[in-house]
């Protein structure tokens, strides 16, 4: 995303809207090329990634981008979806805050790290809202977050 002015509202809107990165005009060509190379390293070909992941009654279909719990489709924003995929690919393993920020927001993300907590809160409101269902998103103190169906809540 290239913004013509250094205006924080544009950057936030772009990043939450799905952009991986932004650069304010005017910029140095070398910087744009370096950022493009980083973004390409973060991307994966579509063909190798189409898989259905399940944790308990939560299903994430990475081909159709459909997320459902007990058959009910849950609409997510692009970032929420990417965060959930990062968690479910590594389910039952704690994901560090740094790795989640790197994976979902990019290695050169220089915004507020608590954006992760904001998105986790949003994901919980959508995925773990039903109090009758077992909670799937867990905070791992000192590390980050984990998606698991095997944690008994106290």
């Amino acid at each position: 995303m290239l913004t013509a002015r250094d205006y924080i509202g544009d950057k936030v809107a772009g990043l939450t809207g799905g952009a991986d990165d932004y650069l304010t005009k005017p910029f140095e060509m070398e910087e744009l090329i370096a950022r493009v190379e980083v973004a390409l390293r973060h991307s994966h070909p579509v063909s190798q990634s189409a898989t259905v992941y399940t944790t308990g009654n939560l299903t994430v279909d990475t081909e159709s981008k459909r997320v459902s719990r007990e058959g009910d489709i849950i609409p997510l924003t692009q970032r929420e979806y990417e965060l959930l995929v990062a968690l479910i690919v590594n389910q039952n393993e704690p994901c560090s805050r740094e790795s989640l920020l790197d994976t979902v927001w990019g290695i050169d993300f220089d915004g507020q790290p608590n954006i992760l907590d904001v998105y986790i809160r949003n994901l919980r409101a959508k995925i773990d809202a039903d109090t009758n269902e077992r909670k799937l998103i867990h905070t791992v103190r000192g590390v980050g977050y984990m998606l698991s169906d095997n944690v008994v809540s106290r």
Partner: protein, 78 residues
Amino acid sequence: MKTTLLLVEDEEGLADSLQTEFELENMVVIWAKDGIEALNKFHENEAQISLIILDWMLPRLDGFSVLRRIPARSQSSC
């Protein structure tokens, strides 16, 4: 296989120099000069496009509106 970029930039001079630079980096550049053209070229070439460079201020449809109309497709791991 070469990496294909969709470059969405309405300033022709800037688009030209960016295209030259990326071609020197061995990339293929598809250029769109406004938001509507960007969406059309994205849908025509979706399978090849690895990355989009999107200007924010664009004629016809701005960068944010383009972004919202492009589906999420990246997958990531911890």
